[in-house]
Symmetry: C2
Subunit: 104 residues, 2 copies
């Protein structure tokens, strides 16, 4: 069980796709931001502003980055999405994730 220490947690959740995707934001002591969220089964497309590190803590999903094929994660894994880009997801089971926003 891992934890984030000395963080500021925004109480109110972010709700997308009728609640099938929800997340909460945390600000780390170095000022960087992460969101921790849950995705229920479904197909989604997201856009990035900053570069994102998508850490899958638990779940089964496929993801597709621009110009690449579908990749599968079962259990845990990580992928990176460039800034100002899009990515697609096919979420097959309840998926727990931690997204880090990376300033370049």
């Amino acid at each position: 069980m891992s934890q984030l220490e000395n963080v500021t947690l925004i109480k109110e959740a972010n709700v997308y796709f009728d609640g099938k995707v929800t997340s909460r934001a945390v600000i780390l002591s170095d000022g960087t931001k992460k969101t921790l969220g849950i995705m229920l089964p479904g197909e989604y497309e997201f856009s990035t502003d900053l570069k994102e590190e998508m850490e899958i803590l638990a779940g089964h999903l496929e993801y597709k980055l621009t110009g690449e094929g579908w990749q599968t994660i079962e259990g845990s894994g990580v992928f990176y999405v460039p800034a100002q880009d899009k990515f697609q997801l096919k979420v097959h089971t309840v998926t727990d994730y931690c997204c880090s926003y990376i300033k370049e």
Copy 2:
């Protein structure tokens, strides 16, 4: 927008009812624990260990404490559940909550 400062956040989510209820635990600087969660529409029953303060941040639901009638919260509100007890919920819209565990 309210926030919890200097907290320790457990990264892994708690998942109940096939993901229709999910939460994440935070430990405050005074050692007390809260969980922040999302409930999708549905009917649920929960049991308490410690006394709980259920703060509804956003949503529409009905709750029933042992020996009492159904009460409605629309938008935001709060209710308390005794330790070692049960409560029932009818969640009508995506509901964002913060549960505080109170040692007596």
